[in-house]
Amino acid sequence: MQKVVSEISGVVFSLPWLVARDEGLFEAEGIDMEFVQALNSGKVTPTENPEDVNPILGHVAFEEAQVAIYRA
């Protein structure tokens, strides 16, 4: 089995991934899929300036090479 670690963020985006895991579709392809939850923004200080916000957002695990794939 090929081990893959994937980030999971909003369920609406990740639904096929969750279904593929729970219904054995990754396993059938020889993939041992592990999910890591994206960081939630938490309550933020509102701003009107996009430059105040790091565009990486919650995808820290991908930026730090802890996961191999994410979706947004």
């Binding site: 090929q2 893959v4 909003g10 369920v11 609406v12 985006f13 639904l15 096929p16 991934w17 969750l18 279904v19 593929a20 219904e23 579709l25 990754f26 059938a28 392809e29 020889g30 993939i31 899929m33 939630n40 923004s41 938490g42 309550k43 933020v44 509102p46 701003t47 009107e48 996009p50 105040d52 916000v53 790091n54 565009p55 957002l57 991908f62 090479a65 996961v67 191999a68 794939i69 994410y70 979706r71 947004a72």
Partner: protein
């Protein structure tokens, strides 16, 4: 979306009114694309509130006039009497690291194609994933909750992964540079590496 008691019925009255989005994410980009069709740039007032929970709450408590939401927050808002003043869709992306080999990516994609087929064959069956997500469920419970019957199913759109076309990359690149969201010195070919082969369609009963 706007609150049930809102006086806004279409985007044209939202000039200089705060609209909650998450900067550098889909809610930001789709709000820009939608509102800029009705309002001059100087009247767009997008405000970063982070995750959809906080955008929803800012709308409900009156901190903002409107919020860009996605499912299942749209369904919850509609159940509470909120209404959409405009609605748009955008393309999701799978982003793989440089060291993801093609065979692994292809195997993942075959599994995803089968999952997409299963979801599209019976969307309502899979809504529990959205309804039961803990952060959403906690907020929804405070508002009476939602059920699978509350969803407008055509809003949920799952399709096969396909590579970005050069045209889509170029159009998106120029749009982002125009709105100051991307350094014009960056080159689209530096940003996108389309190594994914076209996935084979798999029958719905796989």
């Amino acid at each position: 979306m706007v609150r049930p008691d809102s006086t806004h019925y279409y985007p044209g009255t939202l000039g200089s009114k705060p609209v909650a989005v998450q900067f550098h994410a889909g809610s930001h980009y789709v709000a820009l694309r939608l509102l800029s069709g009705y309002l001059p740039e100087e009247k767009l007032k997008l405000v970063h509130y982070g995750s959809p929970q906080f955008r929803f709450e800012a709308m409900m408590n009156g901190e903002v006039e409107a919020a860009a939401l996605m499912e299942p927050w749209i369904t919850l808002a509609e159940k509470l009497g909120c209404r959409a003043v405009c609605e748009g869709h955008y393309l999701g992306a799978e982003n793989a690291s440089d060291n993801m080999d093609e065979a692994t990516f292809a195997a993942i994609n075959r599994a995803i194609v089968k999952a997409v087929n299963r979801i599209n064959a019976d969307k309502r069956k899979y809504l529990r994933y959205l309804i039961d997500e803990p952060r959403f469920a906690a907020v929804a419970a405070r508002h009476g909750g939602i059920t699978a019957e509350d969803f407008h199913l055509p809003r949920l759109r799952y399709s096969y992964n396909t590579p970005y076309t050069d045209e889509i990359v170029a159009d998106t690149y120029h749009w982002m540079v125009r709105w100051g969201l991307l350094d014009g010195a960056a080159c689209s070919t530096d940003l996108v590496d389309n190594r994914l082969a076209e996935p084979e369609a798999v029958a719905a009963d796989d």
